[in-house]
């Protein structure tokens, strides 16, 4: 009891875990609904991962090509995800993204403009029309700063009214949540520590929104930061929620490969969208050899046509460099494996021969800067060396599409952003994440606020649970001579990178699962030297527990899914199978803390949505049964 008596307690209506785009947008909405809202973030305010997004936010505003609309965007998203997406999420996303982007302008965002003064939109892999609202190549920074400043402006309003900036919305920065606390099946609060002091805190709230981002830190070559340890995924599992699509990880085709210390850092897709081309060490523009049948109609087969597309997109097909990310990543992987890569194991991405130096500096300022500073390469003069890097997890908390409420046994838990699953299916299109954050962040905030109102009494945190949370959190410090967490993290990264990477095989996946079990035992004995104040060793020791569960989900689901689709490639099952398209793999935790995997049917697309596609395209994805249903429906609509 004495251990818990001194814990700082706070009461809120809505607690948002995560201060990236999704978390901030959710918090704004909860506060606008009049709720007392807390925002928790592992790093400082404004530093979340969203800050690193470069290319843009996809929204069918039709500013550059007026043929664009939500239906085209919906189609592209489903195609990109290989039809495994939750169709309702993809629909809501395509419909609501433009409003969410326009709203940002009323918060003060300054996107790049078209000639007639509207928001400019750029081409991006997998999008049929120029669709990404952008600011140079620092769109994520603009997005997070805008939301951050909107929160400040709400705090200023509250200050004017109540005399306190924090009366309705408070940011707990550098604070990590380690446990969600329940009252029966209902969320009652979140428990965590201040990184700065190591002191514990308890936030009591009937509704919690997870917006914790992704899991990339389990891989060695990744564009993700230390924050991405899958905390939200693991918190959800432990609270009784379910995860879907965990086998699908996006390897971004173009990460830096040299120098070694920056291996993995992202080279934005806009480099290709703006005219950059990929060549192997023999100088060949190899992407033309890798256009899969399903995409033949949309992609050019000669360099001449591809080059014309940049200026005349209506009469030419797009260059194959702009294929969805998984295709490009696999193509690069094959080229390197076939011995046509560079010494450092990459291929060449070139803009220097494609446009004048001033244009490069104007359009890709932060890439120019990044290569200059980190690799001493001037991209206006030389090509960049690039290779695949772990970038984004499509899988995540299974949610109810309209409300963002987590499925499973838990109530009062919501999830938005990268931590949620379903929206992107087996592969996410570039630019669809930033808009996803806004669309579902808003929805999560709105519905979390509304959920609280339906309760007749506040769920209560039990002292026993709180004590257990404290004990777990302190455990690594009690084992000062336990194993070094950094070593363990490296071992996990090696297992995931080598055995559950871009190309997967049954034997390796089984092996990976065995090793993860061994690692789990070692994590139970991990130690942290030093005290509680700002101690990164201790923090990592606690994060490792989450990384293990999430990695286990990925490996298990990858072993189960015997086909190749989007961000999941099985060497032993190289084809995409219409039967597997009907299946979602759902992870939950069993009583022993191990991952339990279940198959669940994919929701069926509504008729008016499926009819947005043409028959030949659908026939590449759907089973014969589904196709005959499609034909029957098409006939009956015609008859009407």
């Amino acid at each position: 009891m004495s251990t818990t008596a001194r814990i700082e307690r706070h009461l809120y209506d809505v607690v948002v875990i995560g201060a990236g785009g999704a978390g901030l947008r959710a918090a704004i909405e909860a506060r606008l609904a009049g709720k007392r809202t807390a925002i928790i973030s592992k790093s400082l305010f404004g530093k979340a991962h969203t800050v690193m997004a470069e290319g843009g936010a996809a929204a069918a505003m039709g500013n550059v090509n007026s043929k664009d609309n939500w239906m085209v965007h919906f189609r592209d998203t489903m195609r990109g995800g290989k039809f495994l997406n939750n169709f309702r999420m993809a629909e809501l996303h395509a419909k609501e993204a433009p409003e969410r982007i326009w709203e940002l302008e009323t918060y003060g965002a300054l996107f790049d403009r078209t000639k007639d003064g509207k928001i400019s939109q750029r081409n991006f892999g997998g999008h049929e029309y120029p669709r990404l609202a952008h600011v140079g190549d620092r769109t994520g920074l603009e997005l997070i700063r805008t939301l951050q400043q909107k929160i400040v402006s709400l705090q200023q309003e509250d200050f004017a009214e109540t005399g306190s900036y924090e009366s309705r919305i408070r940011v707990f920065s550098e604070t990590t949540i380690t446990e969600l606390l329940l009252d029966g099946d209902r969320v009652a609060g979140a428990f965590g520590y201040y990184r700065e002091s190591g002191e514990f805190l308890l936030l009591e709230a009937p509704a919690v929104i997870l917006a914790t981002g992704g899991v990339g830190r389990s891989y060695k070559v990744t564009s993700n930061s230390w924050e991405y340890t899958g905390d939200g995924h693991a918190l959800a599992l432990r609270a009784g929620a379910t995860l879907i699509n965990m086998e699908f990880l996006q390897f971004h085709p173009t990460g830096m490969v040299w120098p070694p210390s920056v291996k993995g850092i992202l080279v934005t897709e806009s480099v290709r969208g703006d005219g950059g081309v990929l060549r192997n060490s023999e100088g060949k523009r190899f992407m033309f050899d890798y256009v899969p049948d399903v995409f033949r109609k949309q992609y050019a087969d000669t360099e001449e046509e591809a080059d014309r597309w940049y200026t005349d997109p209506d009469n030419n097909r797009r260059p194959p460099e702009l294929l969805p990310r998984d295709e490009v990543a696999r193509a690069i992987n094959s080229e390197v494996k076939a011995g046509r890569g560079t010494k450092a194991g990459g291929v060449l991405l070139d803009v220097s021969t494609r446009m004048p130096a001033e244009t490069i500096i104007k359009r890709l300022p932060s890439m120019h800067h990044q290569f200059k500073e980190l690799a001493d390469v001037d991209i206006t003069k030389e090509p960049m060396e690039v290779g695949p890097t772990c970038h984004y997890v499509m899988g995540g908390v299974e949610v109810e599409p309209d409300t963002a409420a987590a499925m499973g046994t838990v109530q009062g838990l919501f999830a938005a952003g990268e931590v949620s699953g379903g929206m992107h299916g087996s592969n996410r299109l570039g630019g669809n994440s930033l808009s996803d954050l806004l669309v579902f962040g808003k929805r999560a905030g709105e519905h979390a606020a509304a959920y609280g109102e339906t309760l007749s009494k506040r769920p209560k945190v039990s002292t026993k649970d709180l004590e257990a949370a404290v004990t777990t959190a302190l455990a690594p410090l009690q084992r000062q001579s336990g194993e070094n967490p950094y070593g363990l993290q490296q071992d996990l990264q090696a297992v995931m990178g080598d055995l559950v990477g871009i190309i997967r095989r049954e034997g390796e996946l089984t092996d990976a699962l065995k090793r993860i079990q061994e690692l789990k035992l070692r994590v139970a004995n991990v130690g942290a030297t030093g005290g509680r104040r700002y101690n990164p060793g201790w923090h990592l020791a606690l994060d490792l527990r989450n990384m293990m569960i999430v990695s286990e989900c990925t490996a298990k689901a990858a072993l189960e899914r015997e086909e190749s689709r989007g961000g999941h490639t099985r060497e032993d099952f190289p084809a995409m199978s219409p039967q597997w398209r009907l299946v979602n793999l759902v992870c939950s935790l069993d009583d022993g803390g191990d991952v339990h995997l279940e198959r669940k049917p994919l929701p069926t697309m509504r008729d008016e949505l499926i009819q947005l596609f043409d028959r030949t395209e659908l026939s590449k994805y759907l089973t014969e049964d589904e196709m005959s249903r499609f034909d029957a429906n098409a006939e009956s609509t015609e008859a009407k």
Partner: protein
């Protein structure tokens, strides 16, 4: 494959600490942050430092490297001599929490005190129309990654804790300038506000902030000077103007205090600008009376007035 190099890292917390010596392996292409990570992984798991993106995008990893405010992730080891000792210390202007991590909450408080964007009334979302040339001025300032290196460097607060209350610092001057130049912002008192409430007058254009900005934002030329100029415009008084030009410095009525520790090479203890608006309603336009600004910058002398071709600011046309 790597070579062992010598590092000195400040370790400690608010109760005190000292510089400790380490020998660490350095490989080709590495940056200072890699070395800190290697230290954590091999020798000192509890060494505290902030970082996120490792690509100069988040502004978390600000430290002082050999006395200069830098981003750890953007400082390549190859910029040092092979046998050079590299000393890493926390930002000096903010209170230390532990090791290389400082309490930067000062900046978040100042952010909160800077009035937010005021949306134009009657313009619906989706109806905002702006020309690229007009947004570019503000976009330059929105590149800011909030690394707070400029805040750390500015002598007005670096050695003068007492100025923190009244002085928002360069990061928030560019925020004010950004909104002032925003084509649709509905407030027209940004510059007056900056003078009256943000302590713009303390700034004596030493340009140290511009020099450390990793985003290469021209903080002084493009934000501070225009903000000052425009305030001067409003209160332009030809006599004072002329007077300033013909008096020599030693003939001016105000004594210029000699700062303590001005001789130390890395001290940024420089005179703050004298109060902006004197009791008689006139201003000290120090830019015009001084040949150098507020004593030497640790990064070399600044010339003033600035050559006109380096002022890239153009006053926006009035909008209807």
């Amino acid at each position: 494959m790597g070579t062992k190099r010598h590092f000195r890292v400040w370790r400690g917390d608010e109760s005190g600490g000292d510089i400790q010596d380490y020998d660490v392996e350095v490989n080709e292409g590495e940056v200072v942050l890699d070395i800190i990570h290697r230290l954590q992984a091999t020798q000192t798991p509890d060494l505290a430092c902030r970082w996120n993106c490792k690509a100069g995008k988040c502004g978390s990893c600000s430290v002082e490297i050999n006395g200069k405010p830098r981003l750890g992730c953007m400082t390549r080891m190859s910029t040092f001599e092979e046998d050079e000792t590299v000393t890493i210390t926390p930002l000096r202007t903010f209170p230390v929490i532990r090791d290389l991590v400082t309490d930067v909450s000062f900046n978040y408080e100042k952010a909160r005190e800077t009035p937010a964007f005021a949306p134009p009334p009657g313009v619906a979302p989706g109806e905002y129309r702006m020309q690229q040339v007009d947004v570019e001025r503000s976009q330059e300032f929105r590149k800011c990654i909030e690394c707070f290196l400029c805040q750390n460097t500015c002598h007005v607060v670096r050695d003068h804790e007492e100025n923190k209350e009244a002085f928002s610092g360069p990061r928030y001057f560019i925020r004010a300038a950004e909104l002032d130049m925003h084509p649709l912002d509905d407030r027209d008192d940004r510059k007056q506000y900056a003078q009256a409430n943000q302590g713009l007058g303390f700034c004596n254009i030493t340009k140290c902030c511009t020099e450390v900005c990793p985003e290469h934002i021209k903080i002084t030329d493009n934000a501070i000077i225009p903000m000052k100029e425009r305030v001067v415009d409003k209160r332009y008084d030809p006599l004072v103007w002329l007077g300033r030009k013909i008096f020599r410095r030693d003939e001016l009525e105000q004594e210029v205090p000699t700062p303590a520790g001005a001789a130390a090479p890395f001290s940024s203890a420089r005179r703050a600008e004298l109060p902006d608006i004197r009791e008689d309603g006139k201003m000290n336009v120090t830019e015009i009376t001084l040949d150098t600004q507020g004593g030497p910058s640790p990064f070399g002398d600044q010339e003033f007035p600035m050559p006109a071709d380096r002022l890239s600011y153009h006053k926006p046309e009035p909008q209807d």
